[in-house]
């Protein structure tokens, strides 16, 4: 590890911390008022409601809210599926790509509508500009807005008293998209264009390299997709290699801004939470728990990747840091980013549910791979995606308060809400859906020829490839370990099922909890009330996340990255399949 590497991490942490308060307060005003919308925008917003037949003054029960979420995304997935299937006869297809195969089209449609953006295809050789812009980019906006809307609905559950409604999904969706996501993305897109990211409808460019070879340079409307790809926690890149491609992420400065965009809304929403429940310390406590888990993981990944690869040691390759190279395990990493920014980007991306990559996680050391998988397995609570990170962490809060209540013999309370059996049941249901798919589907894939056919490696690393893919899908992260050939009907359909379950089967119980809480009255704090804003509660919360979330996956991790780590230490290598 170098001081320059730690300086990059410190600058990143300082910048993201500085943005939390203003952005969190702004989001709070957008969803909870007061916020004076500029007159033309207000008219536009009213026009949208009129067009859709929505009464913005009418709030919904949790069931209506959940049905609205499901109906909206059914239409979104179906239309994105159709768009890909007929892209060959639609405009903005200068490379004349054919229709996307049915199973891949379904996988991609579910992937982007669920804020996962798992990509079984290389974008630059599969999708037209229209599919990328009007399909994927639109779903990136809408899926992120849905995540934030659901989190806001849950916050209202904690904050409101004896009410029957948790807000209006259509209003939340519209306001978050118009006033939060779009303005930030416009600024971020322009910044990326300034950094060298293309934004054009011109076709691909035929170039002659310095050696005289012929090369086709793919380009397109990249910057507009790139900005929302990062801000939305979506992560689906225009190009196959995502943010490792110089047209998506030209250099270290754009890399820093891309990481900030990934964390921006996830961190700010903790401030929004504190503001909406009327106790800012509660938001800081959640952020502190997230930060503890994040920096613990980051330290392991950076230390592991900055160290030389033991497998290359017998070959006498110079892997030390120096003026001419960043040093460390540089397989699968861009020289312009080095070990430090690659480790930081990978940790940010897997902790946040974004899934963008600037290096190939398949080439990370086994211990780093373990941390990246664990970040996702912990239900994306370490910052997480916009909204989804916050509501997942609040699920763990409910479990932590319940466990603490059992220990001290009191009915669990959080923010003046007495948490009954039904709230805990729904929290556990939401927390168990994701592990069921993360553990169940690799078990199926590991014994079926169709599952084994896609592996790029044998031994524990091959198992890690499968485990990572389903983890990424069910946790709605979308990053790829690489190495796995996932564009097959088996993987496309099973991953689509994992992404669907990991998103919607979690959102429904979250909204159900919001609906139950919102109807309750507040209980004043008493002598035995557990304070939930101090270091003790942060420690209980971190412990709950690690024990409830982490131990579930230990056996599977032992078969993959842990076994690979010890095999590597003994010099055991596995043959290609």
């Amino acid at each position: 590890m170098t001081w320059q590497g730690w300086l990059q991490i410190a600058v990143f942490a300082a910048l993201i911390t500085a943005a939390i308060r203003p952005l969190g307060a702004y989001v709070s005003r957008i969803v909870d008022g007061p916020f004076r919308v500029p007159r033309p925008l207000a008219a536009f917003e009213r026009g949208l409601y009129r067009l859709a037949g929505v009464d913005p003054g009418r709030e919904q029960s949790w069931v209506s809210y959940a049905i609205a979420v499901l109906c909206f995304h059914f239409v979104g997935i179906a239309s994105l599926y159709v768009l890909q299937r007929v892209q060959n006869v639609l405009p903005l297809n200068p490379q004349q790509f054919g229709a996307v195969a049915p199973d891949l089209a379904l996988n991609t449609a579910v992937s982007f509508a669920t804020n996962t953006s798992w990509q079984s295809y290389p974008g630059e050789t599969t999708l037209s500009y229209l599919s990328q812009m009007a399909g994927l980019t639109v779903q990136s906006f809408l899926s992120a807005a849905t995540g934030i809307a659901v989190a806001v609905a849950l916050i209202r559950g904690f904050a409101r008293r004896t009410s029957e409604t948790i807000g209006n999904f259509w209003v939340d969706l519209t306001r978050i998209t118009l006033y939060v996501l779009l303005p930030i993305c416009i600024v971020a897109s322009l910044f990326l264009v300034w950094q060298g990211v293309p934004q054009t409808f011109g076709g691909y460019v035929d170039a002659t390299t310095l050696e005289g070879a012929h090369q086709v340079l793919a380009r397109g409307p990249v910057a507009s997709q790139e900005a929302v790809k990062l801000l939305s926690g979506d992560g689906g890149g225009f190009f196959n290699v995502n943010s490792a491609h110089p047209f998506e992420n030209p250099g270290p400065v754009s890399g820093l801004v891309e990481m900030l965009l990934i964390f921006l809304l996830g961190t700010a929403l903790t401030y929004t939470f504190g503001r909406m429940v009327g106790d800012q310390r509660q938001g800081w406590a959640l952020l502190a728990a997230m930060a503890v888990l994040f920096f613990a993981g980051l330290t392991i990944v950076y230390a592991t990747e900055a160290a030389p690869s033991p497998s290359l040691a017998p070959l006498a390759i110079d892997q030390a840091a120096g003026p001419a190279q960043a040093g460390g395990n540089m397989e699968g990493k861009e020289v312009r980013f080095g070990a430090a920014q690659s480790a930081l980007f990978a940790t940010v991306s897997t902790a946040s549910s974004d899934g963008a990559v600037n290096s190939m996680h398949d080439s990370f050391m086994p211990l780093s791979g373990l941390v990246l998988m664990a970040n996702m397995m912990l239900d994306e609570v370490i910052i997480g995606g916009p909204g989804s990170g916050l509501f997942s962490m609040l699920l763990f809060v409910i479990v932590a308060v319940f466990v603490a209540g059992l220990m001290i013999g009191r009915t669990p309370e959080y923010l003046g809400n007495k948490l009954g059996g039904n709230e805990v049941k729904m929290a556990m249901l939401a927390l168990l859906v994701v592990p069921a798919f993360i553990l169940g589907l690799p078990a199926v894939a590991a014994v079926l020829p169709d599952g084994l056919a896609g592996l790029g490696n044998t031994g524990p690393h091959g198992f890690s490839e499968m485990l990572y893919a389903y983890t990424s899908g069910a946790a709605t992260n979308g990053s790829a370990f690489a190495g796995l050939s996932a564009n097959t009907p088996f993987y496309n359909l099973t991953l689509a099922a994992a992404m669907f379950a990991g998103r919607f089967l979690v959102i429904v119980p979250v909204l159900c909890i919001a609906g139950m809480l919102v109807a309750k009255g507040r209980v004043p704090p008493a002598m035995g009330t557990l304070p939930t804003h101090g270091p003790l509660f942060v420690a209980i919360l971190v412990g709950t996340v690690l024990i409830v979330g982490g131990l579930t996956f230990f056996p599977a991790l032992a078969l993959g990255p842990i076994a690979e780590h010890f095999a590597m230490a003994r010099g055991v290598l596995y043959a290609a399949p």
Binding site: I67, Y81, P102, D103, L106, M426, A497, F500, F504
Partner: protein, 32 residues
């Protein structure tokens, strides 16, 4: 034909999610 299968997959998934909403409501309202 394959398109119909994919649409059926999607419809079944959302129908299941709708039933899941109903199930959560039943569990929390009737047995709470």
């Amino acid at each position: 034909m394959t398109d119909l299968l994919m649409i059926a997959f999607l419809v079944a998934a959302f129908a299941g999610a709708g039933a899941y909403v109903w199930g959560c409501d039943c569990v929390t309202n009737r047995f709470g």
